[in-house]
């Protein structure tokens, strides 16, 4: 049924991505691909992977942006992982004509039943975030499952029951948890860091949150002096060195 859940549970599983910490290494994207190409939405088909124009299905894409304030003369470079936000008002679900696209009542995860998907691509048109990609080879849509086959997997040690992108992140920029519970660690993190939703004006009520880069620490506004090959100054040198410099330069 592609209507949104009538009685959604309070649990809203999702990700919190800290843009202050992300170093843009793409490990989340790579490990996502590795886990999911044999997971629930498998395979994540690649077309011409070694050809001139490789293409393929990925659930996670890492962009890099620059935000420039021309008046203040400042800029920030931010690495920005983009994946499904598991929206509360997921338009990709309601546009689906077949019922293949659905939002789980128990935890809010948005999934696709690839056995009944007709590959009309309308869900990818309805999603503002580019979370859904078309698998040309299978003729169906694919998307992030929040590693549903990992987070509930009792064969894995408990600390491993988080999405692949979270467990692999070397800088700890990604957190996973219940954003519907205000007392969860992720909700507290969002509250403390003023985490935000992407494009709230699209009305999709995303569950995932992004934590903004922290303000730059104010310090010496001037760039450090470059060491020059020719030694033509004695600023900042000690008393003795300046005296020697003076005597020898005479």
């Amino acid at each position: 049924m592609t209507s949104l859940p009538q009685n959604p549970s309070k649990v809203k599983l999702g990700l919190v991505i800290d843009l202050d910490i992300c170093v843009g290494c793409h490990a989340c994207a790579v490990n996502c691909k590795e886990w999911n190409t044999s997971g629930k939405m498998a395979p994540l088909t690649d077309i011409e992977p070694y050809g001139a124009k490789p293409d393929g299905v990925w659930f996670n894409r890492v962009h890099t942006y620059e935000a420039v304030d021309e008046v203040a003369g400042t800029s920030r470079t931010v690495h920005f992982p983009r994946s499904c936000l598991h929206c509360d008002d997921a338009p990709c679900v309601t546009v689906c004509p077949t019922g293949a696209s659905y939002k789980r009542e128990e935890d809010g995860i948005v999934l696709i039943n690839t056995d009944i998907c007709i590959g009309c691509k309308l869900c990818s048109w309805a999603c503002p975030y580019g979370a859904r990609e078309y698998d040309e080879d299978e003729g169906v849509m694919k998307k992030c499952t929040l590693c549903i086959d990992k987070i509930y997997n009792e064969n894995l040690p408990e600390e491993s029951r988080v999405p692949a992108c979270v467990s692999t992140c070397p800088s700890g920029a990604r957190s996973f948890g219940d954003l519907g519970n205000p007392d969860s660690d992720v909700s507290k993190l969002v509250a403390a860091r003023e985490g935000y939703a992407l494009m709230p004006e699209q009305g999709t009520k995303p569950v995932n949150r992004y934590l903004p880069p922290r303000p730059k620490k104010l310090g010496n506004e001037v760039a450090p002096r470059m060491l020059e090959h020719q030694d033509d100054g004695s600023d900042g040198a000690g008393l003795l060195a300046r005296w020697v410099d003076k005597v020898l330069s005479a």
Binding site: K53, R61, Y65, D69, E70, G99, G139, L198, P212
Partner: protein, 316 residues
């Protein structure tokens, strides 16, 4: 947006087919056009051909066309599903009306009631088709109050032109009313499209690179590194740009070929000799077909999707 040929053919051909069905039903039910069997057979045959070939063509862009029947299940939430259901329901009364006309030689009275019902259902189906696009908030150029009106008027206009050509070919008479309708609808369509184009040009952005990334607090946002070196599905499907480069020229072609030439040619029918009526009206139809195909191609190709904000677009 990538303009899929199958969808362009679907929306224009089935639009014209439904438009023709509306005029056949209305003109028949009102007793303006007599229930001539050959005329009915050719008219309904052509209309059903356009509608059915359009619907079949729309399944050509599916990844799994053999599962298309599943698209009928989610009419509670999905406009695409509603459109599929409406298309099938419409075949009932329309088919019966066509049978009444062709087999029984009747198109008024009780049979005429079926005609009115089928005209209504045809319009509802075209409206549902338009809502597939108009309901998408991610594409502001489609999420526009004139999208549905445009689909309906263009369907009625192309249908009226087809009807007129058929009336002239079969020397059915009563072309005066149809000529007025074609001229009026073409003028209305031209006005609508001009208003629409002006409006999408002027509309303020609904989303920006700043709102898409939430980084506006630090200044103007631009992408400095793409996640991938080659185009992915999102860029191929949503990042279509060629049309915007030629948008103005293509709009002029759509306007002149789609509406102005057909309007002028059809308006001239009243004052030219009867033997020229068929070639002139056929020419008007051909011109309109080209114009409408360009118009529909532009409708898709020109529309920007907000996901492009993640790939270097600054405002959509």
């Amino acid at each position: 947006m990538h303009p899929a040929k199958s969808v362009i053919y679907f929306t224009t051909a089935s639009g014209a087919g439904y438009g023709l069905l509306v005029w056949l039903s209305v003109m028949g039910a009102m007793g303006i056009i007599p229930a001539d069997r050959t005329f009915g057979m050719v008219g309904f045959g052509l209309a059903f051909f356009l509608v059915i070939s359009g619907l079949l063509s729309s399944t050509a862009h599916l990844g799994r066309p053999e599962r298309a029947w599943r698209a009928l299940s989610q009419w509670r939430s999905s406009w695409l599903s509603r459109e599929g259901v409406a298309a099938i329901v419409t075949f009932g009364p329309t088919g019966l009306y066509a049978l009444g006309w062709v087999m029984l030689g009747q198109n008024t009275g009780l049979v005429g009631l079926l005609g009115i019902l089928s005209a209504l259902l045809c319009l509802i189906t075209v409206y549902f088709t338009s809502m597939i696009y108009a309901s998408l908030k991610t594409i502001p150029a489609w999420n526009h109050r004139l999208t549905s009106v445009g689909y309906l008027v263009l369907s009625l206009m192309s249908g009226a032109l087809l009807m007129l050509v058929l009336q002239i070919s079969f020397q059915m008479g009563h072309t005066g009313l149809m000529i007025k309708l074609v001229v009026g609808l073409s003028a209305l369509a031209a006005l609508l499209k001009l208003t629409y184009w002006r409006s999408i040009q002027k509309s303020p952005a609904t989303s920006t690179a700043e709102s898409a990334t939430g980084l506006g607090r630090f200044g103007k946002v631009r992408m400095i590194e793409s996640p991938h070196g080659e185009d992915n599905y999102l860029l191929k499907e949503m990042g279509y740009k060629i049309a915007r480069k030629h948008a103005l020229k293509l709009r002029q072609i759509a306007l002149v070929s789609g509406f102005i030439i057909p309007m002028a040619l059809v308006a001239s029918l009243g004052s030219i000799a009867g033997s020229y009526a068929l070639p002139v009206s056929t020419l008007a139809l051909l011109s309109a077909a080209i114009g409408l195909a360009v118009e529909r191609w532009l409708f898709f190709a020109e529309a920007k999707h907000v996901v492009t904000l993640y790939y270097g677009e600054s405002a959509v």
